[in-house]
Amino acid sequence: MSEQATSHAGHGTDGHDSDGHDHAHGPEHYVKIWLLLLALLALSVAGPFLEIQVITLLTAFGIAVVKASLVVKYFMHLDVQPKYVMYFLATSLAFMVLFFFGIAPDVLHHEGQNWVNMAAEEEIVRAFTARRDAIDTAVRTGVDEHGHEVDEDHERELIAERDDITERLVEMGVAGAGEVSFDAATTFATTCGPCHGEGGAGDGAAAAALDPHPANFTDPAFWNDPEVTRDHEHIVTTIRDGGAAVGRSPLMAAFGAQFDEEQLEAMALFVEGLNPNAE
């Protein structure tokens, strides 16, 4: 019965009827192929550690194709089967590719000339919004959704991810996605208040100890100073670069690192709004 033990006995490709073939299909050869497969696996696991997307994709799918062809050739012995076996397997594969490219344009894009896949778009917005809220909570409380503490590195990653999500949402035209909750009045009270006073009257807790005294923005004389033209640009520059930058008191620190351009603008407008002569 052992004579029938192989399906390709009839083709004269049996493992032990020719020396050359025995060498290529012997146990040692199989072990070599197995070691090669394991080495390729190690490569595909190592790939993502380089954090380069192209390399990750190559090591993931390029290597998968190589591994698959090794298994097909050396373990399944497809190459010694009758040719038509390969043909009908290839036909199956071709149907799969046909399926993929027939459907892919409709699934990969969520918008066409006369159609919009609203369900898909809504799902992306819903998922991103939920993720952003989760990040906000994690950053605020210092604990992530699994109850793990958020260290500095992780917090930086989370914030980068949140910025990325915000950018995508803005790209998708989601209303209000790019708005940062920034309130100039609150920021003024906490950041500027200790010196300039919460109401901007130059009467903060530290004001008495400072010489010269912090500016009183509610005093018309401050705005009508004959020595300095206190226009919008002057205010913006002072907040951003500090008093010394405009030839005034160096005790007024530079806050440029704390605000982005929009926030700087909002802060300047708030300060100008304290001018009792403002229209």
Partner: protein, 190 residues
């Protein structure tokens, strides 16, 4: 004893049994191909999946790949032993392959338990639905393959129907093959 017709008939150049295994695999290509193709489309079309995918555990996946590749080795060695007419050795190697299948399923169940405890269930979102369906259908194939191997090994031990060792082996290599593609899709390309 009369031989099964699938063994003795060879109208197409190979035994009918072997031919039927190849036909089976041709249909499996469409089943898994469709599933993986659909996954790839959605993975690319849904940027929010990147975050979901980042929670799969690469090390569980790697361990299972090592197990499956090794079980493929023992399957092909069993085929070699059967070719030499050594049914006992073939049976032993097939039992080792079944051991690999069991190991794979144990790792998978530990992995799934941890994921489910973290709230990543099959209904959590479409990514996890794909994850459990794809790995689940594959796991089903692992179970079926292991059962058939036990049966074939039981016969091979008595030096019976040794040609079936190659048939079940080819099926097993295909199960390995599917995992070779599932692994980068679910664990590497994050």
């Amino acid at each position: 004893m009369e031989k099964p017709v699938a063994t003795v008939r060879s109208a197409a150049g190979i035994s009918t049994g072997m031919l039927s295994i190849w036909w089976l695999l041709a249909s499996e290509i469409v089943i898994f191909g469709g599933l993986l193709g659909a996954y790839i489309m959605h993975r690319i079309g849904h940027p929010e999946w990147a975050e979901y995918a980042s929670h799969t555990n690469t090390w569980f996946g790697t361990l299972n790949t090592v197990i499956l590749l090794s079980s493929s080795l023992s399957a092909v060695l069993a085929h070699h032993a059967a070719e030499q007419g050594d049914g006992k050795k073939a049976a032993k190697l097939l039992y080792m392959t079944v051991g690999g299948a069991v190991g794979f399923l144990v790792v998978k169940s530990i992995e799934w338990t941890i994921e489910i405890q973290h709230g990543y269930t099959i209904t959590a979102n479409s990514f996890w639905s794909f994850y459990y369906v794809a790995a689940g259908i594959h796991g089903g194939h692992v179970i079926v393959g292991a059962l058939f191997m036990l049966w074939v090994a039981g016969l091979a031990k008595k030096n019976k129907e040794l040609q079936r060792v190659e048939m079940v082996g080819v099926y097993w290599h295909f199960v390995d093959l599917v995992w070779i593609f599932l692994f980068p899709l679910l664990y590497i390309a994050k």
